[in-house]
């Protein structure tokens, strides 16, 4: 169970997965959006979810930190494990889960507060900083890790919404990092950004990949190829293929994967 057969030829032996989906099905009312998905997500690596629009990538991603809970018609079955705990059992604390599994959204969504308060909000509500100095420290290191520190260090008290789109997205990443998550989910984080801002975010993801399990939804296959170790291809709610990114892009096993990569479905 630790390694799926496709991974046996990897040079590094994988530890147990950070998160795992076991027979996950998601329904929106009668719409069967996610069909029987099994997937392992490992710490210290980036996993890309690719697939045509409407195939359920966002839906699956939002299952991983139970953001789907707020959609009344959404129903999830199967197991999603964070380390060894099923996050959909009733005993789980959703608030704590979301602190461990952070999320960055497609559209940058900073709070209309100061840059400082944007970063400090998470640590504050989780009581991660005992003193103001600790909080300052968290804010500084989060912004540094997100590669935004140099640009904003002199104006931490200006509004986060006054930054450029790319800066806002890095602010959102810094905000997610600030609560010290174990997993970061990113839903098309670069889709609203220009190539330069995209490049910055990509190198940031690259840097962060050693410390967190990162799962990213992207429509850009070049991006998936550049930043992720593993790629999962979704189509019509099913996970068609999962494996090393290089293998998926150079020698896909499934016809549908090949068709998508070569632009025949989408």
């Amino acid at each position: 169970m630790i390694n799926t057969p496709t991974e046996t030829n990897l040079d590094t032996v994988q530890a147990s997965p950070k998160m795992a989906a076991r027979g996950v099905n998601v329904y929106y009312g009668d719409n069967h959006a996610i069909k029987d998905i099994d997937l392992n997500l490992y710490a210290d690596e980036v996993t890309s979810l690719i697939g045509p629009s409407g195939c359920g990538k966002s839906t699956f991603l939002r299952c991983l930190n139970r953001m789907n809970d707020t959609i009344p018609i959404c129903r999830v079955s199967g197991q999603i494990l964070l380390e060894d705990d099923d996050i959909y059992t009733s005993g789980i604390d959703v608030v704590q889960l979301r602190a461990r599994v952070g999320m960055v959204f497609q559209k940058p969504n900073p709070f209309p507060k100061s840059i400082y308060d944007n970063i400090a909000y998470g640590p504050r509500i989780h009581g991660l900083a005992a003193h103001r100095t600790d909080l300052d420290e968290i804010v500084t290191t989060s912004l540094e890790k997100a590669g935004l520190w140099q640009e904003v260090k002199d104006r931490l008290d200006t509004s986060g919404t006054a930054l450029s789109g790319g800066q806002q997205q890095r602010l959102c990443i810094a905000r997610a990092i600030a609560v010290n998550p174990e997993v970061i989910l990113m839903d098309e984080p670069c889709s609203a950004l220009d190539p330069i801002a995209t490049a910055k975010i990509e190198s940031l993801i690259d840097e962060l990949s050693g410390r967190y399990a990162i799962i990213i939804v992207t429509h850009s296959m070049q991006q998936a190829a550049r930043i992720s170790r593993k790629t999962a291809f979704f189509h019509l709610g099913e996970m068609v293929e999962y494996g090393d990114t290089t293998e998926i892009f150079t020698s896909p096993k499934e016809d549908r994967t090949r068709d998508y990569i070569t632009g025949r479905i989408g």
Partner: protein, 444 residues
Amino acid sequence: MTDRSKITTVNSSVPTDWKSDAMQARIGRRYRRERIFRSLGLAAVVISVLFLVFLLGNIVKNGAYGFMQTSVSLDVTFNADLLGDPSVLSAEEFTEKVRKTNMLRLIQASMRDLFPDVKGRRDTRALLRLVSTGARAQLRDMILANPSLVGNTERVELLTSDDIDQVIKGNIDITLAEANRKVKDKELSWLKTLQDDDRISLDFHSQFLTGGDSREPELAGVWGAIVGSALTLMVTLVTAFPIGLFAAVYLEEFAPKNRFTDIIEININNLAAVPSIVFGLLGLAVFLSVMGMPRSAPIVGGLTLALLTLPTVIIASRASIAAVPPSIRDAARGLGASPMQVVFHHVIPLAMPGIMTGTIIGMARALGESAPLLMIGMVAFIVDIPGSINDAATVLPVQIYLWADSPERAFVEKTSAAIMVLLFFLIAMNGVAIWLRQKFEQKW
């Protein structure tokens, strides 16, 4: 799809002739329609502005004199024999004596000096009636505030009666036959004498803004009604704002969407359209009959008006809560904020300008309401300035209603002046609402 492509090919085979007569006529018609539409709109605006100007002009014309009052300067001798000597008596004894003194005698004495040939009790009384009944209190307060007046003769300005005031303001037609007017020829001749002596003046009358109600128009003031309105609105705000806010937050953020909440929602919208007097009946039945609260009191008025404003507050709050973008909620949730933290840290602060605007507009509506308050007895004649929410009080619109109902000619201008005061507060409240909206307007 096929249809459109066919049309495109048909059209593209013959280039459109934009200069053809048919085309020119079409363009001409389009311009003409646009002009007609614009002039209709302009006409509508002009008509409404005219109405407004007429209304306001009328109120200001009638009401301006309401802030002014005629007074007469008399040389009053503060007779120590009558009033007692403050240097001999103790302070309490002096006060006591002054309170007991009939000040009319001081006025009578100074009038006698001015009109030595007025004899007989009837004429003397008529002469004294030139001066307002409030002049006695005026003199008394003057003496008590400054006991050193005793023994001296001072020129003091005393209010005239409302009839004399109306003559001065030109509201009584003195060309009418004597029998048909309230102010007789004799009084007019005395008034003439006083005027020739330069003793009559028409000045700003601060008592109108600082005094309570009175049967005498020249003594009546709006302060009692202003305080009553303030106390009532305070009760309304303190009840309607939190209840409305929490109801809106619950309905918008937490309530499950089912038949039951649908029914509640429809009924809240219906309540906003219920005539206000119905809320008065409800207040009468619940607060007075069942709960036995005091009649005519701001607490009951405030609670009744709170019922009236609640739907407005709830609807405005829900609208501004719904306008907070979902992405902000997602961002907070994604960081692990609990539903309550999402609401209190993000949604309510961002919705607050809209909530406050809605609340102020609801308050402004409550400030202008009179009908529901009539039902709970806030329509009584109340002279004292209310000191607490349990005292009998009246409010500005009801005061206006009461004065409009009074027979004295002088209350006409008091009514308009009170309307001006009410409009001032309404405009001020709406101004604050607009200011809040612009100051805190969020751009996403």
